[in-house]
Amino acid sequence: MSDTHANSIAFVRDTELPPAPPPVAETGVIRWMRENLFSSVLNAVLTVLSLLVIFMVLRGMIPWFWNSTWNANSLSECREMGSGACFAVIRERWPQFFFGFYPNTEYWRPVLTFFLLFPAIAPVLFNRVPKQALLFSMLYPFIGYWLIWGGSLGGPVGTLLGVVAAYLVYRVLVQHSTVLALLAGVAVLIIWMLFLNDFVIGQLSNLFGPGLEQVDSRMIGGFLLTMILGIVSISLALPIGILLALGRQSDLLIIKAICIGFIEFIRGVPLITLLFVANVLLSYFLPPDTTFDLVLRVIILITMFASAYLAEVIRGGLAALPRGQYEAADSLGLDYWQAIRLIILPQALKISIPGIVNVFIGVYKDTTLVSIISMYDPLGVVQPILSDADWNGILWELYGFVALFFFISCYSMSQYSRYLENKLRTDHR
């Protein structure tokens, strides 16, 4: 540098400067603390205040957990044994929290269903799992239904046959028109359910014998009920929500009107109202002798509710795509459904992941509302315990336990969505 003079403009660098390490005060813990905790007077005050609050919360909570009681038969016994939390109530009532009033000789069935959920859901969530495993995922709803509700194996097998028949019709017709094939498939399924199902199931039930002990829907409760309602509604709502979002953008006026009407109506009505409809009103509309399972009714209405919200979230994703993507797909000769499936949806859904998971988590937690139509979800289970003379007055431990369960489920969902967003990120910004 010494040969550059203020009065000479021309300058050519002939040596490269070696990179130098940053000054010591600019690295390590000290720098991190200075930047993140004490960067200004206000920040320093806030840091100290926050530490104080954390300290006070911990000072209350740690002894509460440390002095907790697990072996007691009533709240008064608990209070004599220790000053902390009384988790004895959880120890005594945990079957109700997990299974509701499910017969206690049959607990292995929901437990087995729960563990089978993992191999069933893995190929859907992670694409490292071989695709053949999807076959099990498709059979899982029928296996799960049979395990939880029991009865003859004929029931799920008969319904499975109906689904297979609908799929075959779809497969044959899809070469001509996707919309036609979808409608025909649904029509076949409905006809099967209305006219053939009872006959086929009757025949199959004779063939397979009585099977497992039947469990009434009223018996199902606790976390089991939450998981059934949450998982089934969520997995049904996603495809329906996608179709509604596409329908809302459609050029076909009638389809568009139906989709908008459905979405706006469902969004305009509180979920509780819909649940009352499921509980009480639906039986007025159905033929008098239909035995339409309560859990199924609730699942249908929660699914409708979730799909309307999902449709709007996905519509946002569709709207965010540049028009050029549609044009490029068109100009390559892809037809509408190919363009939607290969180009539009993968991108639109990726954009909508945070919103979609948000709806999922909301719906999952909203399943607790079924307690008001006297179904025993985890919060519904708490009520009889509170009115039990032995445990009267206990609150924190019960609601804390329920909260823990919901937190674990919902946090897993949000972690999965972050994993998915990272995996799908291809813009490398």
Binding site: Q325, S331, L332, Q338, Q347, T426
Partner: protein, 259 residues
């Protein structure tokens, strides 16, 4: 059109008609965008369309593969009449390649997947064969080494060359270019133009909307000047640039060649 009869004399251009547009009109609402367009393109012709912005040149070539609908008149592409029949539209689109100003690559797919998508799903080609063809065309546009990257990792010029390769993988008989270099940095324009020149030299029928007048002089056998939704003038490039007939053309050329 007087020029249409003359074109057959140019080497590499056959008598066969690739695109024939008769009396075509288009409106956006009440706005008359294209007025009485008559245009015949022989197989092997390289046509450059230029004109001020809003003159309807992009709309014209977007009508050819039905990205825009025309309201009156007739368009016949490769013997197929363009109507509202979806089968005809899909047939034409799979025979006509198109490159856009903003490339419009699919950002969620790798370069190779971008190129193999349409052959696999539209032409029902086995994956291995589609990949072989894709690599052939990626080599031709000189970026085979980028095959496994995503569009977001490439420069603009590279992305546009991928877009050209993606169209070529469908083995189109006609290529449409909608301002392919307008969104590029100056130093990347040349690599894209070079690709287009080599395509022209192989006898591809091409319609380019572009303001690259050097490219027009080098490869076009016909230059069309549009203004206010009409074809104002068309001629061989030499005549068009050196001796423009209409006043509007003279003004336009003086503006873009002025400096």
């Amino acid at each position: 059109m007087a020029m249409a009869e003359n074109t057959a004399k140019i080497p590499g251009v056959s008598d066969e008609v690739a695109i024939s547009i008769r009396n075509m009109n288009k409106w956006y609402g009440d706005f008359h965008v294209l007025r009485d367009i008559d245009l015949t393109v022989q197989r092997g012709e390289r046509i450059v369309i230029c004109g001020p912005s809003g003159s309807g040149k992009s709309t014209l070539i977007r009508c050819i593969n039905a990205l825009e609908e025309h309201q009156k008149g007739e368009i016949v592409v490769d013997g197929t009449v363009l109507s509202s029949d979806l089968k005809n539209i899909d047939k034409i689109r799979s025979e006509v390649g198109m490159c856009f100003q903003h490339f419009n690559l699919f950002p969620h797919l790798t370069i190779l997947e971008n190129c193999t998508l349409a052959p696999i799903w539209v032409r029902k080609m086995p994956k291995a064969e589609a990949e072989e063809i894709a690599m052939h065309f990626l080599t031709k546009v000189k970026i085979p080494e980028q095959a496994d990257k995503y569009p977001g990792q490439l420069s603009g010029g590279q992305q546009q060359r991928v877009a050209i390769a993606r169209s070529l993988c469908m083995k189109p008989r006609i290529m449409l270019f909608d301002e392919p270099t307008s969104a590029l940095d100056p130093e990347m324009i040349k690599e894209v133009l070079d690709t287009m020149v080599s395509l022209a030299e192989e006898g591809m029928t091409m319609l380019c909307v572009t303001h690259e007048m050097g490219f027009a002089r080098q490869v076009a056998n016909r230059v069309i000047f549009m203004d206010a939704g009409q074809i104002v003038e068309q001629n061989e490039p030499e005549e068009f640039f050196n001796n423009p007939k209409s006043e509007r053309t003279q003004l336009f050329l003086s503006q873009i060649l002025g400096h």
